[in-house]
Each structure stands twice: as structure tokens, then as C-alpha cells.
């Protein structure tokens, strides 16, 4: 019989046990790290059909976010501007630039420019831009410093945990509504700012909901 099962097979169950434990730990760790929004989303930077630079338009030229994203204060959705918005300036500025060919085409034919979506919440999440920007939450918290980006990339995970972080402690993230679109603004003294904002939370009756109904309907 010993011919069939050599001596080393005695150790086999132990090896299988240890190996299994190691493999499953590795798998768990792998999923834990690689499958989270922090890994899968942050840094996502698709190539856009038109090389639009936020850095030039916002940082250098000082345009306001709302010149293009004019729906942000009214709608749940922050719109991508129509080609006609671009053409307000670009019928004069760089009017013949080949890089803007697609924009001109869209403007004259009505054919939309296929911008690749970067930030997206799942269908069962009903995020609303209007209520956040009107109540002192800046773009920068979720989108990062877009004003410094040549090409837009996904800066924050936008996972449920990410949302809840702020909803659980809104004071740390609120600011004066006039600074909402100033993506460079930083509190001089974060601790003092948070303390001041606690009063604002009280005065504005901020009840950043942690209930499912806040986002899921």
C-alpha cells in the first residue's frame, strides 16, 4: 500500500489547509483592494474627443464653473455645455483652430460631441447637484481640483462611504456659498473653520441625511 501513497502525502492535508488559507487570504485582500471604487475609479482619465483644458479656461482665464455648467444650480444634473456655449467665444477666439473642428461641426450640424463620461453614480443613486452647491458644498469635494486638470480625471472614489463621510460630519466640508465655485479656496485654519461651520449647520438647519431615502428611491 505504501507504494501508492508515498510518505510525503502524510503532510498533504496540512499543506492543503495552509495553502488554502493563504490563497483565500490573498484573494480576499485582492478583492478588498482592487475591487473598490478607490482603485477602480480614482485616476480614471479617458481621452476626450476634444482636448478641452480646464486648466486653461478656469485657472488661466478665470472662468466660472457655471458659465458652462449652468444647470448645476437648478438640476440634479450638472450639464456638459452645448457646442453653442463654446462658440460664444470660439467664433472669435481660435475660430479656425483645427482642434476645435468637432465643436464647430457640432454647432453647425447639431451632431453632439461624444464626451466620455468620467463621473458617474450608479442608476440607483439619485445624487443632486443643485442642493449641494446651493447649500455650501463645493465642487472640489467630489471632483477634485478640476481647475488644475489638463484632461479631467476621476479624483475621488465617489463610493457610498465617501458620501457618508461628509454626510456624517457636514461641518468639516461646508463653506461660505460665495466660495463654492472657488476650487482653490482652503480654510486658513481648518479647526477653527469647522467650529464656525458647526454654527452654520445649526443656523441653516443642515440635516445631511444618513438615511437610505436620501439617495435611493
Amino acid at each position: 500500500m505504501s507504494e501508492i501513497f508515498p510518505k510525503w502525502t502524510n503532510r498533504l492535508p496540512g499543506l492543503v489547509l495552509v495553502g488554502g488559507a493563504l490563497a483565500s487570504t490573498a484573494a480576499l485582500a485582492g478583492v478588498w483592494y482592487y475591487f473598490t471604487p478607490k482603485y477602480t475609479r480614482v485616476g480614471y482619465q479617458p481621452v476626450q474627443p476634444v482636448g478641452f483644458s480646464h486648466a486653461i479656461h478656469v485657472d488661466q482665464l478665470g472662468m466660472d464653473c457655471r458659465y458652462c455648467h449652468n444647470g448645476v444650480e437648478k438640476s440634479w444634473f450638472s450639464n456638459i455645455p452645448a457646442a453653442s456655449t463654446c462658440m460664444n467665444c470660439h467664433n472669435q477666439v481660435l475660430a479656425q483652430d483645427p482642434k476645435l473642428e468637432l465643436v464647430r461641426q457640432s454647432y453647425f450640424t447639431g451632431e453632439p460631441i461624444p464626451w466620455v463620461q468620467v463621473h458617474k453614480t450608479p442608476d440607483y443613486v439619485y445624487f443632486n447637484h443643485a442642493v449641494h452647491v446651493n447649500r455650501g458644498v463645493s465642487c472640489v469635494h467630489c471632483h477634485g481640483q478640476v481647475n488644475k486638470m489638463e484632461e479631467v480625471s476621476h479624483a475621488k472614489p465617489l463610493s457610498m462611504g465617501f458620501c457618508l463621510e461628509c454626510h456624517r460630519n457636514p461641518a468639516a466640508y461646508l463653506r461660505d456659498p460665495k466660495d463654492v465655485y472657488n476650487l482653490d479656496w482652503k480654510p486658513a485654519d481648518p479647526v477653527a473653520h469647522e467650529a464656525a461651520m458647526l454654527q452654520v449647520v445649526h443656523d441653516w438647519r443642515v440635516r445631511s441625511s444618513e438615511n437610505c431615502s436620501a439617495c435611493h428611491r
Binding site: 440634479w76 450639464n79 453632439p112 466620455v116 442642493v131 446651493n134 441653516w204 437610505c212 431615502s213 428611491r217
Partner: protein, 1110 residues
């Protein structure tokens, strides 16, 4: 699988009290099973061991096939496509609202339609239109689905082949020119009934330019009789406009004004306003109903007399003899005999009551009654001083049109070359004796504008696809004559044509675009060219001050009335071998026009609770005498023709009367109303003749012994044996305003421990009470009140909920399994006079055959998630998928739900619904699948729904609400999307301030907004001024199953009945209270404990003490 029954709750399951259907009464095992379990047999378990094993195998295989690639981890790349040029005033994501109207036969429902990114998805009543307080009927709510119906006519055809729209337009213009050249000789236009100024103008133009052209109108359900009767009765061109809110005594002569009559919405609102009393001293109306079938109106009656259809004339005459002054009419009435089998006191006392309410009384006659009944009603209204008060006569010129019979004659005589049919479906709906399909073929060219390619299409040369009203420019006149705008929210999806364009081309107009045509009518009517006036008309949806002029000096033309009484058909008393057959407008599919609307098909009929079919309705006695049982297929012979239909016993039907609704059993149904080519329901049109459109005498019925399975929801989700619906007569309400809190264990709060504040101590300590600052919002706490006094059970709320919340249709097969998905249902309860019952505690097999069920009282109760503060569903959910939010909503997080269904099992109100299948993705089985066969749903991914169809149906979905997938539980959310929307709007407005509380009225649930009776009120309980807070303070307010200490946020206002003590059928208490007193030995109107029999447990019913009492 065995099932352990939990210990009984305080109330045992008792015999009499409310019952929901005849199965319930007979205590059949099937019904018992439905009561005991959350889901009917087979619904909640996978019992077949083989299929379970197969399932595991398949799952394993598919996992292996899917492999371990991580391709699915990244989201698919999606593109955002902005406009080339930004349209003005459009913000993506913000819905837009437009005023429009849904045309009906004699009026229109003024609407505000909601458009989301170009798709109309919901309509609401336009409460700005004077005389309409908002609210809609169920047809308006369901009309959204018609727009996206995959089976609607999607092409224009000539000889069955598709033709482009330009060819159709050329043809129409050409036909117009040719007809004009011949002065219209040979041109005939057949229309349905509609009140449209543009139609009148264009038909007038055609008749003016082509004097030889003929116009005809036909409607199988003819509401024009009201205008004809009023005109005949007064000798003036007038129509009636009934103002029920002014009435205090109402007599309905077979007039189902709350249900199948025209203008159901405004009538319901007017009536409900007189029924929602806040104290016993408020004025309240009293409703007398005489009718052959049980209708919604009869369900709301204080005194109801079931009487064969023909006898209604005699009863009307008898009442008129009491009330009319001596004269020509009275002497004409003398010739009519007294109605058979009616207590004379019923007539005299009813007449006396009407007379006592002079100026506030109204008599209404229904469309199924002959003209003589209508004329008597007008004579009565005149003599009761109702003209100008409860009935306003308004100018209504008679349309210069011929009848369908005239047209048939013309066709037979070969006088019609070109026949243009606008809407309607005459091949299906024409009286059988006209043999319409044959007559229609006699025309050389038949052109037809229709919404479906249906029966009539087959006999047409040209079929033009009609545009939906939400795709059309048009106009309409409301019932009071106010001109309403019909404006499109979307371009015709399939290039459909509007009636305005078709008529304009025929008339030879140069401006034929519908927009121009409607504008032309508007400017003609207003006598100007003011662009501002036009814009305002579209903005408001109505033309101010355009209501028809009231005619105040009309008097009854006694000669005309007497003449009509003299020629009235002689009523025949129906008997066992010579039955009356009554044809009715279907409460859901109308005359057949909505047959393909699956929302309406699945809506339980308000009275019978039938879905997906019609049936031959009979009374208990008739069924017993003829030896018929429920659901038995019978052969019905009438007018020399024959049809087959299943019988369904309805309590409250007149004996020897059969009733069947029209429009089912189609030869060319859409997919929504058929299964493998077999249409839903049974076609009654072939039995209907010109002379007898509503009533046929001498019908015969023979049983076949075969059974047809009808999907009736009346026994689904039952709550047996508890005082769920509470009611009182007005006198008792006066004496004891808080009677509603004196039922059941609610009456015993004195005996249970109280807390320091003197409130009953909670059975469970709620987490809220431990940490209120953290868990309870101090800004909003939502609640709802449903006024059972106002609710008539019409079903508009159910349709509104379905449209708002993306509720799927499940099909007849699934309904039979008890899986309908409606979040909001209307429970219809019957109560009977139970002194004839031998043993009220035993529901024996034969009870449904006993006569005490014949004259039931009916109560309707909308039932939805009660949003308990202490929700039993939440405590049993293993995954926290159903949880409470800070504002008092019981939430469903669909993504967490794993489908254990524990929550549904633990819900005492049975309001939770489970998605057994992907109803949105799979083809639905619209018919019953025979045992042993598997429907499409069971094939899973192998049965695919047509992708293009699905795309179309998807457009009707509300983007603010998740579409649920298979395997998750769902239920009423209090329209959380609307609440969040209102809160966000208020916060955006508040900005950097604390003004975040939503104003009262800024958020309305879908059911509330649709309710024509204004019986549902929703709002913030923390706002003491809100309507809901006010209503909750009313003494009628009570909680259903309050003894469970669940603290439901939905409460009900008890119903008050207003019977006349002098009537022979007067009972001191509502029948449900009689039962309550008999069974519980307790009187909710006495002081606590009064009437408790010695030795009984408190309020424990006799015989129940042995089972444990409470």
C-alpha cells in the same frame, strides 16, 4: 412544506362582519389559504425538487462559463451628448410641465402633463381651471401607457401596405378637392363623439363648401342622451351641468355618476365634498340609488334599491306622481303602473325627503335608461327648484349629424363613394343588426383615422395612424363649456396624424398644419389676432370666461315630456326564463378602446375586482335558480343571438338581471389583451341591436358545466375578522363623535399601563425614543390621512401610483397566483343583514347561497404601506433592507434586499409586494396558463421581450424611481422621490438660511394628486397648520389594527352614512356595526363597557373567549 401558524392575534377570525367575496363567505379552503399565508399556494416556495437541482446545475455551469476574467470590473464607457445648440429654457434633468387636456366624449379632463427630457411620463389634473379642483379619472392616468403602446398603429396603410405620410396627405387634399368639385356628393364623414371647437368649425366648413357632404356620428356608449333629454324637456338647445356639491338629497335613477357615466372626476369631487363631514352638524348629502346592477354609485348610497332595469321607469314615475303638480305630465304618468315588488313607503319617503330639500335636491337618470326616465328626472328637477341650483342648464346646440343607421342606409343605397371614419371602431361596436362590416364595404373608398389597426381597419382602404392626444394639437370643451387647450408634449412617435389636419385637408384649407388649424379656431372664437391671448391660452390650458352661457329661463315642455312618457317601452318584469340583459360601459376599458392598456386590464374592476376579463354578472338568487356556480361558462341567448361567457355572482344585483360589459373578446386585440391570439374576455357586441342598445329582455342562460378561470383579486391580501373599516350613521356620529376610537382594543386603553405623560405606554421601546436628537427629524415627519367618507373606490389612485412608481404589469396568470404588484390597492368590503344567519360564528359552505347577502352595504378602503413607526417588517429583515428614516418613512433599499420575504410575512396589512420575475424584462403572460404548462416568465432569459417594444415601453418610466428587478421586495414609499424633490427645491430656495421646511401642499403623493374625491391628504405632521395635522385631530381619525402598537403614519377617517330614519329599509346602525355589536357584545357608541355581557372577556366575541380572547 408545512407551515407553522403563529399564535392568534387578539381578534379571532370570525364569521359575519365584513366579507370580501363569496369565497370568503363560504370559508373555502382556497380562501383560507389566502388569508393565512402572505402569498397564495405555490407562490412562495420552490417545491419541485427536480427544478431546484436543475437550477443549481445551471448556476454552476454559468459561473464556469463566465470565467474568472475581470472584464466586468470596469464600468462600460458611456458618452454624454450635449446639444449642438442649447434650446432656450431647457435644463437637463428638470422636468417641464404643460397644460393640456384629455378629450372625452362630452368634455375633457383638464391636465398638466409632466415631461422629462422630452418624454411625457405623468399627467395630473389641472387645478387652475375654474370648476375643476384638480384630480383625474383613471383613464387619464392610464393614457400615458397608450402613448407608448407597442401595438398602436405605427404606420399609415393603403390596402394593407405601408405608405409614407406625404402620400396620405396628398391623397386627403386630393379627396377634398374632388369632393368640393362635386359639392360633396358621395362624401360621408363618420365621427365619434367629442366636444371640440375645431372639429365643429371644420365640419361646418365642409358642410358649407360641400353642401351635399354628409356628417354622421356614432358612439356605442352614448352620453349625448343627457343633452338630448335636456333639450327635449325644455324645448331649448341646452345641456345639463350637474353641481353635486350643492345637493343635499340625490336620487340616482340607474345613473352611475361616480363610475361609468361621463365626467366621473368632477362629479365625484362634488359628491365627496358633501360627504366628508368633520362634525355631526356639518351639512351632509343623502344619496338614494335605484339600479339593476351594483355600481360604484350604489356602493356609496345611503339607500339603495335594486330593481330590474325596466322597472326604473315605473319607480321614477311613482316618485314623480308624488312630487309633480297636477297637470299634463302627471296625467301622462298615471297610465304607468307601480313598480313591481317595491315597498310603497320607499317611494313616498324618498319623495318626501327630496321635497324637503327643495333647491338642494337633484334627480339623475343614467345612460342605460330610456329618454322617458331622463325627462321625468328633468321634470322632477324643475319642480324641486333644482334648475339653476343643482342642475345648471347651459347652451348646447344640437350637432347637425346623422345617425349610424342613416349612414348604413346611405351605404346600402350606394350614395356613399368616400367614407371617412374619424376614430371609433364601428365594425366592432356598431349594433349587430346593421351588419356594419358589410355596409362599410359598399363605399368605394373607406378612409379611417384610428389609433389601432383593429377590426375596422380590415375593411378600410386607407388606414391613417392617429396621433395620441399628448402628440396632438387640439382643443376641447369641458362639461361646463370652458374651452381647453390640447397641446402636444412630444412629436408624434410614429408620424401619426391629428384629426385637425385630416379635416382641414378634406375641407380644402390652405393652412393644414394642426398648430395653424387650432390657432385659426382660437382666433375665430376670440375674435382677434392677439398673440398674447393665444400664449395665455396655452399657458393656462383654458380660455378664461369661455364657459357656456347658463340658460336661466328654461321651463319644462310638458307636452314633450308627456309624449315621451306615452311612447316609452313597456317594461317587462324579468323572470327566470326571460332574463334582462344589460350592456354596460366597462369601468376600465370603456367601450373597448382601452383594451390593450395593460395597466387598466390589470386594475381590479372597482365593483367585481375582476382583472383581465369581463364576465356575465348575476345575482345570487338568479344563479341559484338557474343552477349556476361562479366561473361557470354559460351559453347566453338574447336577441336571437348567442354567446358564451363565465358567470360571476355579485351581491346587490337585481334578480333575473344579467350584466355584461362591452369591449372585450376582440377579434383583433393587441398583444396586451390576448394570449397566443386568443383575446381576453367575451364580446357582447354581437348581441346588441339598434333598438335595444342598453337592455335586452327575454335573455336565456344555460350552463355548460365548464369552468373558466377568472382572475379576481377580491380575496387576495385579506385581513379577516377585524374592525378594519369603521363607520357610523350620522346620528350616532353626532351623539358620539369619537366613536371610531371606541372599537376593538382601542376602547380599552384605560386598562393598559400609561407612561408619565398619561399616554398609553408603548409595548415596544422604539429606538427613536431613546435617541430622538439623532434619529428623529425635527423638520419633517410625514403622515397621511385617508377619508373613507370621501373615497368612492374609483381606482384613479391605483393608476396614478402605477404610473408614478414604475409598477410592472404581471399578467393574468400571475394575478391568479396572487402576485399583482400594485402598491396601493382598494379593498372592497361587503356587509350583509345578518339576522338570517343561523350561526354567525361559522362560515359554512352554504352561506353564500342565503338571501341575507342580497342587499349588501359596501365600503371601499384604499390600503397601502402604513409606514408604521414601529414597523414589524423592519425587525425581521435579516439584511436591513427595510429600515426607518428620520422623517418617519419606512424605506426599502432594493439593493440590500435578498428576497427572504420575511417582511411580507410579518406585515399585518399585507401591503408588501415581491418581484417573482423580471416583469419589466420578460414577456408577460397575459392569459391564464393551463396547469402543467409553463408561461413565458418561467423560461427566464430564454423568453425575450422584443427589444424595440421594450425600448418603447421603457419611455413611460419615471426616471426618478428605480425599476426593480426580480427577487426584491417593494411597497408604497409615500412617493419618496416627490418628498425628496420638494425638500431639495425648498433647500435650493433657502440657500444660506434655515428656511428648509417644505410648505404644506408643496409635496403631494401621486394617489393624493389623482384622487378626484380629495380623500387622500399627505403632509408634514410637525407643521400644526398642515391639512394632514388638522385632519388627524378629527374625531373620526383611527388607525387600522392600532392595537398592534405599530403607530401607523397612515390613518383613516371613519365613514359616516346618512340614512333616512323614515325609509322602510332604515337600520339604526350600519350593518358592520350590527355585526360588531352582535359578535363583540360591545357598542362603540356607548360608554366603555356598556353592553359587555357578564362573564365575557372585554370585547371578546362570544365564543372567542374559549380560543383565548385577548
Amino acid at each position: 412544506m408545512s407551515k407553522s401558524i403563529p399564535p392568534a392575534s387578539p381578534e379571532p377570525d370570525l364569521g359575519v362582519r365584513y366579507w370580501r367575496g363569496l369565497d370568503d363567505r363560504s370559508g373555502s379552503p382556497e380562501f383560507q389559504a389566502l388569508v393565512e399565508r402572505e402569498f397564495p399556494a405555490g407562490a412562495s416556495e420552490l417545491t419541485d425538487p427536480a427544478s431546484r437541482r436543475d437550477f443549481v446545475k445551471l448556476m454552476g455551469a454559468s459561473l464556469a462559463l463566465a470565467g474568472f476574467g475581470l472584464t466586468g470590473c470596469r464600468r462600460p464607457e458611456e458618452v454624454l451628448q450635449p446639444f449642438g445648440r442649447q434650446p432656450e429654457g431647457y435644463t437637463h434633468g428638470v422636468p417641464q410641465y404643460y397644460a393640456t387636456a384629455m378629450p372625452s366624449r362630452t368634455g375633457a379632463v383638464p391636465l398638466v402633463a409632466k415631461q422629462h427630457d422630452g418624454r411625457p411620463i405623468k399627467v395630473e389634473g389641472n387645478d387652475q381651471v375654474p370648476g375643476f379642483g384638480g384630480g383625474t379619472d383613471l383613464f387619464a392616468q392610464a393614457s400615458i401607457l397608450d402613448l407608448y403602446d407597442p401595438d398602436r398603429a405605427r404606420r399609415h396603410t393603403r390596402g394593407g401596405n405601408a405608405v409614407p405620410v406625404v402620400q396620405v396627405q396628398d391623397f386627403l387634399s386630393q379627396a377634398g378637392r374632388e369632393a368640393a368639385a362635386k359639392k360633396g356628393a358621395g362624401l360621408a364623414i363618420l365621427t365619434d363623439h367629442a366636444a371640440s371647437p375645431t372639429r365643429e368649425r371644420l365640419l361646418g366648413l365642409i358642410q358649407q363648401r360641400m353642401p351635399e357632404a354628409k356628417v354622421y356620428a356614432y358612439e356605442p356608449v352614448d352620453f349625448d342622451i343627457h343633452r338630448r333629454a335636456a333639450s327635449l324637456a325644455t324645448g331649448r338647445a341646452v345641456g345639463p351641468n350637474v353641481r353635486l356639491e350643492r345637493a343635499r338629497a340625490i336620487l340616482s335613477l340607474d345613473a352611475d355618476f361616480l363610475g361609468t357615466e361621463n365626467d366621473g372626476g368632477p362629479m365625484t369631487r362634488g359628491f365627496a365634498r358633501t360627504r366628508k363631514v368633520s362634525s355631526g352638524h356639518d351639512p351632509m348629502s343623502r344619496l338614494y340609488v335605484v339600479e339593476p346592477l351594483l355600481t360604484l354609485t350604489g356602493s356609496s348610497a345611503d339607500h339603495r334599491l335594486r330593481l330590474a332595469s325596466g322597472q326604473v321607469l315605473l319607480l321614477a314615475a311613482a316618485i314623480a306622481r308624488e312630487l309633480l303638480p297636477d297637470g299634463e305630465v302627471k296625467s301622462a304618468l298615471a297610465a304607468l303602473p307601480a313598480p313591481a315588488g317595491v315597498d310603497a313607503r320607499w317611494i313616498t319617503e324618498c319623495a318626501a325627503d327630496l321635497s324637503a330639500h327643495r333647491g338642494r335636491a337633484v334627480v339623475l337618470a343614467g345612460i342605460r335608461q330610456p329618454l322617458a326616465v331622463h325627462l321625468i328626472a328633468h321634470a322632477l328637477n324643475a319642480s324641486l327648484d333644482g334648475f339653476g341650483k343643482t342642475v345648471t342648464l347651459i347652451e348646447a346646440p344640437a350637432p347637425a349629424v346623422g345617425s349610424l343607421a342613416d349612414l348604413a342606409k346611405g351605404l346600402d343605397a350606394g350614395q356613399v363613394e368616400t367614407l371617412v371614419i374619424l376614430h371609433g371602431n364601428p365594425v366592432l361596436t356598431a349594433p349587430a343588426d346593421l351588419d356594419w362590416a358589410r355596409a362599410q364595404r359598399k363605399a368605394r373608398t373607406v378612409v379611417r383615422l384610428g389609433f389601432y389597426e383593429d377590426e375596422t381597419t380590415e375593411v378600410c382602404d386607407w388606414h391613417l395612424a392617429a396621433a395620441h392626444y399628448l402628440e396632438s394639437w387640439g382643443d376641447a370643451r369641458a362639461s361646463d363649456g370652458t374651452v381647453l387647450a390640447v397641446q402636444p408634449l412630444i412629436a408624434p412617435l410614429f408620424g401619426g396624424l391629428t384629426e385637425a389636419e385630416v379635416l382641414a385637408r378634406l375641407a380644402g384649407e390652405t393652412a393644414t398644419r394642426p398648430h395653424e388649424v387650432i390657432r385659426a379656431t382660437f382666433f375665430t372664437a376670440t375674435g382677434g389676432q392677439s398673440e398674447d391671448a393665444w400664449e395665455k391660452f396655452l399657458y393656462l390650458g383654458y380660455l378664461a370666461d369661455s364657459a357656456a352661457k347658463p340658460v336661466s329661463d328654461a321651463v319644462i315642455d310638458a307636452t314633450a315630456v308627456s309624449r315621451e312618457i306615452a311612447v316609452a317601452p313597456k317594461p317587462v318584469v324579468p323572470g327566470k326564463d326571460s332574463l334582462d340583459l344589460v350592456f354596460t360601459r366597462d369601468a376600465k376599458i370603456d367601450d373597448g378602446r382601452h383594451v390593450n392598456n395593460t395597466w387598466l386590464q390589470e386594475l381590479p374592476d372597482p365593483v367585481t375586482k375582476l382583472t383581465w376579463d369581463n364576465a356575465l354578472l348575476v345575482s345570487r338568487r338568479t344563479a341559484t335558480e338557474l343552477g349556476l356556480v361562479n366561473s361557470e361558462l354559460v351559453r347566453l341567448q338574447a336577441n336571437g343571438r348567442e354567446m358564451t361567457a363565465p358567470v360571476w355572482v355579485v351581491p346587490g344585483m337585481a334578480d333575473h338581471t344579467l350584466a355584461i360589459s362591452l369591449g372585450y373578446g376582440r377579434t383583433k386585440p393587441g398583444r396586451g389583451a390576448s394570449f397566443k391570439g386568443t383575446s381576453a374576455g367575451f364580446n357582447a357586441y354581437p348581441l346588441r341591436m339598434s333598438a335595444t342598445p342598453s337592455l335586452v329582455s327575454g335573455a336565456k342562460v344555460t350552463g355548460t358545466g365548464e369552468t373558466f378561470r377568472l382572475a379576481v383579486t377580491q380575496s387576495h391580501w385579506a385581513m379577516a375578522g377585524r374592525p378594519i373599516v369603521r363607520e357610523a350613521n350620522l346620528e350616532q356620529f353626532k351623539a358620539k363623535p369619537d366613536f371610531a376610537r371606541n372599537f376593538d382594543l382601542d376602547a380599552h386603553v384605560g386598562h393598559i399601563p400609561h407612561d408619565a405623560n398619561g399616554r398609553p405606554k408603548r409595548v415596544y421601546q422604539h429606538a427613536w425614543e431613546e435617541r430622538p436628537d439623532e434619529l428623529k427629524s425635527d423638520i419633517h415627519q410625514w403622515g397621511m390621512v385617508v377619508d373613507l367618507g370621501g373615497c368612492t373606490g374609483c381606482g384613479a389612485c391605483v393608476m396614478a401610483c402605477q404610473a408614478e412608481n414604475n409598477i410592472p404589469v404581471v399578467g393574468k396568470d400571475q394575478v391568479l397566483r396572487g402576485r399583482e404588484m400594485h402598491w396601493l390597492r382598494i379593498d372592497r368590503y361587503f356587509t350583509g343583514m345578518a339576522e338570517g344567519v343561523r350561526n354567525p360564528l361559522v362560515a359554512d359552505e352554504n352561506q353564500w347561497k342565503e338571501d341575507w347577502i342580497d342587499d349588501p352595504q359596501v365600503v371601499n378602503q384604499p390600503m397601502m404601506c402604513q409606514h408604521c413607526e414601529n414597523a414589524p417588517c423592519e425587525s425581521v429583515c435579516p439584511v436591513n433592507a427595510t429600515v426607518h428614516d428620520a422623517e418617519g418613512l419606512n424605506l426599502m433599499a432594493y439593493n440590500r434586499c435578498i428576497g427572504t420575504r420575511y417582511c411580507a410575512n410579518n406585515c399585518a396589512w399585507k401591503v408588501r409586494r415581491f418581484n417573482f420575475f423580471d416583469y419589466n424584462k420578460r414577456p408577460i403572460d397575459y392569459a391564464h396558463i393551463k396547469d402543467g404548462m409553463r408561461g413565458n416568465l418561467y423560461k427566464g432569459p430564454l423568453a425575450k421581450r422584443d427589444a424595440a417594444d421594450q425600448e418603447l415601453v421603457r419611455m413611460a418610466k419615471n426616471p426618478d424611481v428605480s425599476v426593480r428587478m426580480r427577487g426584491v421586495m417593494e411597497k408604497c414609499t409615500f412617493c419618496t422621490q416627490r418628498i425628496e424633490g420638494a425638500k431639495i427645491a425648498q433647500k435650493v430656495k433657502a440657500g444660506a438660511s434655515g428656511d428648509v421646511q417644505v410648505r404644506d401642499g408643496a409635496v403631494k403623493t401621486a394617489c393624493q394628486q389623482a384622487c378626484p374625491a380629495e380623500a387622500i391628504v399627505f403632509g408634514n405632521l410637525l407643521d400644526p397648520g398642515s391639512r394632514v395635522s388638522q385632519l388627524k385631530k378629527q374625531s373620526r381619525n383611527y388607525e387600522v389594527l392600532g392595537f398592534l402598537d405599530n403607530r401607523a403614519r397612515v390613518t383613516y377617517l371613519a365613514r359616516i352614512r346618512n340614512p333616512n330614519p323614515k325609509m322602510p329599509d332604515f337600520r339604526e346602525f350600519p350593518l358592520s356595526i350590527e355585526d360588531y355589536q352582535r359578535l363583540y357584545h360591545s357598542n362603540p357608541f356607548g360608554a366603555h363597557g356598556a353592553g359587555h355581557a357578564a362573564g365575557d372577556g372585554h370585547a371578546a366575541p362570544a365564543g372567542a373567549a374559549a380560543k383565548g380572547g385577548h
